[in-house]
Symmetry: C2
């Protein structure tokens, strides 16, 4: 057997998978508390649903093939196009339609850039209303999700595409690089691309954008955000924010975490024409996507994962083959007291190995019932973190685990 | 845009997606409380990892193609083979390795039989021990999961493959049909296939199996199940249970829900040679898979889904464009009191339409703040189920929602 995953594809072993679930569950809970509802679409679609929707680059990176029935099919490339299909296909949806979608997508990216070919997308969008209230709500839900994950130093940079009115699309794409290559770099590129005649012209073009003031839309969004109780330290107007994707129509935003330099962890905006352009019915929309892998990385860097992602509180060890029943009995007693308990899954393993097993799985307590304990009608409880150990009655041990449970 | 999913592929709109999540979360919680940990593997593998592992039928139904880099790849067909790869590939796993995996798999099945081409598999297995304690544990965790989902009338039919010793594999496959086609049908097929000479011979062959008594392994498992506190109504010895898959080595089991006739909702057993045969290192294993779609169907039939799968307690409506801020303010107040609240996402929608929206999304309460309410410094709360309506102080309304929250 080839002991290898494909380039750009990853296994997530328990330690990592538990962290991923923690993040997914936290985000889902926040999304749902704001009224966003889950949507699932298939991994495979008719090729024609996806093809041509992501530009030439997208068509090139898409996983496409002919299935056994001769159908041309393609693997999910993002979650917006399938949602556009869903919005057009089903009449029973409640509009405005607030949905979130957290599923993997596949892109045959150049993995040398540290990109993956299978990665989780994490979208929340509202379809069917042009109200700036919705823009404020999606920004608020993103902030709430980051807060709930434990981030407290981050900023939503907000802009309105209309500040770029009269500028050609090409200029916007160049200006988007301001943070990366600075004013001089952007000015040079604007000249190189023939968008500005001289470096001076280009520089003043940038300066004019930099001093733009809040548009009417952004003013409203800011006011709504304040009414929603969002601390103003979390958002700011950023007239030079451009965002590469050319389907945004007005509001655009990105979230940067202070001290995390790999890039923004969230990007979004309003795209009122896209669903119609994709062949759905004309439907205004606003929303965002979290960069899941970046979020994971930032959480790791700032040590924001909870110490205890293991719901199992105690491992009941098996002292010897002859004493199995005693171990099972205490295990089921702990469980019936709502203490998540694991029973060591083998009767012929040395105790030391069982302790190592608990340690490896991050289980805090081990329970030991040997001949000594049985003689005295007691149980030994060992805390693997503090290395403390106590031999006491079953009830005492239960009490310790119960109180540790509610910490 | 083609407004259609591929045959055998499904969209899950919010209503259905929420039910799926409820089941997945419940099962995960139970699995984790027993010490099973999550594992994720990629949707695509090198073709050679999967090919030839599921028999001719499997190779035929597998989604395979050549990727942009010329690699022969295949889509996940089950979760056992990728796990076999993982078990062989990584040294850092804690053994015995208890993992669960809940991911979609893809099979180009004949959809006319009501089968899907994309469906969720839901596996829990322990790798690396031959202890019958583990057999008992996986059966116990399956029972616990069904209990937690709300099922109370079901039975685990347990058998040991060794009762078929001396019988050819072909006979086992025929005997597996006992429930479907009865003793006469099986006897006829045994003769047709040349396994028995006469109908009489075949019938007595079946009778001999039917009166087999518990093997040593099953006796032990039963005793462990009792010690684990499992009510004996939930399990029973079934000497004619065969299970089609020929990789099982001893314990086999299936779970049938009383009154649900579409078939067993869970199947599993011990397969001590499979991981080695798949090219992994020799690793004994025992586990099971829930039939996710059948579980969903049975839950629906027995009306076991909770009434309230919507975490949102109240929708704050927007009376008019002029009164938006008042609505936002009460919304954020409710949220800061931990009441999941949705704000209607548009300022220009008739109140009646907003109530319909809440109803469609299954939100129980709507909050209304119109000019009358503002004048009196009050808020109106309407229960959409009982149609009762009350105009009262913000604090009163908060109290009603809070107490309804903790129901």
């Amino acid at each position: 057997m080839k002991l290898q995953t494909l380039k750009g594809f990853r296994d997530f072993l328990p330690k990592e998978a538990k962290k991923r679930q923690f993040v997914i569950n936290t985000i889902k809970q926040v999304f749902e508390s704001f009224g966003f509802e889950p949507l699932e679409t298939p991994a495979l679609e008719y090729e024609e649903v996806l093809l041509g929707k992501y530009g030439q680059e997208g068509d090139k990176l898409m996983y496409r093939f002919v299935d056994n029935g001769g159908r041309k099919v393609a693997m999910r490339y993002d979650q917006t196009v399938p949602t556009a299909r869903v919005v057009a296909q089903y009449q029973e949806l409640a509009f405005p339609f607030k949905r979130y979608q957290i599923q993997p997508v596949w892109r045959a990216e150049n993995t040398q850039k540290g990109r993956f070919r299978e990665f989780l997308q994490c979208d929340a969008d509202t379809f069917g209303t042009t109200s700036p209230l919705t823009d404020a709500e999606v920004i608020a839900v993103a902030i709430q999700a980051l807060n709930t994950l434990g981030f407290s130093q981050f900023k939503v940079l907000i802009n309105d595409r209309t500040v770029f009115e009269n500028l050609p699309k090409e200029a916007i794409i160049v200006i988007d690089k301001l943070k990366k290559i600075g004013v001089d770099g952007v000015a040079r590129e604007l000249v190189e691309k023939g968008i500005a005649k001289t470096i001076n012209d280009a520089t003043s073009m940038i300066r004019i954008i930099e001093v733009k003031t809040l548009t009417e839309t952004v003013t409203k969004i800011f006011s709504y955000l304040s009414s929603l109780g969002i601390n103003s330290k979390y958002f700011e107007f950023s007239p030079t924010l451009a965002r590469g994707l050319d389907y945004y129509t007005s509001t655009i935003f990105e979230i940067e975490i202070e001290g995390y330099s790999a890039g923004s962890v969230c990007g979004g905006g309003r795209y009122d024409n896209l669903i119609g352009q994709l062949g759905g019915k004309d439907t205004p929309a606003v929303g965002f996507a979290f960069g899941f892998d970046r979020l994971m990385e930032a959480l790791e860097e700032f040590k924001l994962f909870p110490q205890e992602l293991n719901p199992v509180k105690a491992l009941v060890t098996i002292f010897s083959k002859e004493l199995v029943e005693q171990s099972i009995s205490i295990c089921s007693q702990l469980r019936s007291n709502n203490i998540s308990t694991e029973l060591f899954p083998d009767e012929n393993t040395a105790l030391e190995k069982q302790l190592k097993y608990a340690d490896k799985k991050g289980i805090m307590y081990v329970v030991i019932i040997g001949p000594e304990e049985i003689k005295e009608n007691k149980v030994t409880l060992k805390n693997l973190k503090t290395r403390e150990q106590k031999t006491s009655s079953q009830n005492d041990i239960l009490e310790i685990l119960r109180s540790s449970n509610s910490e």
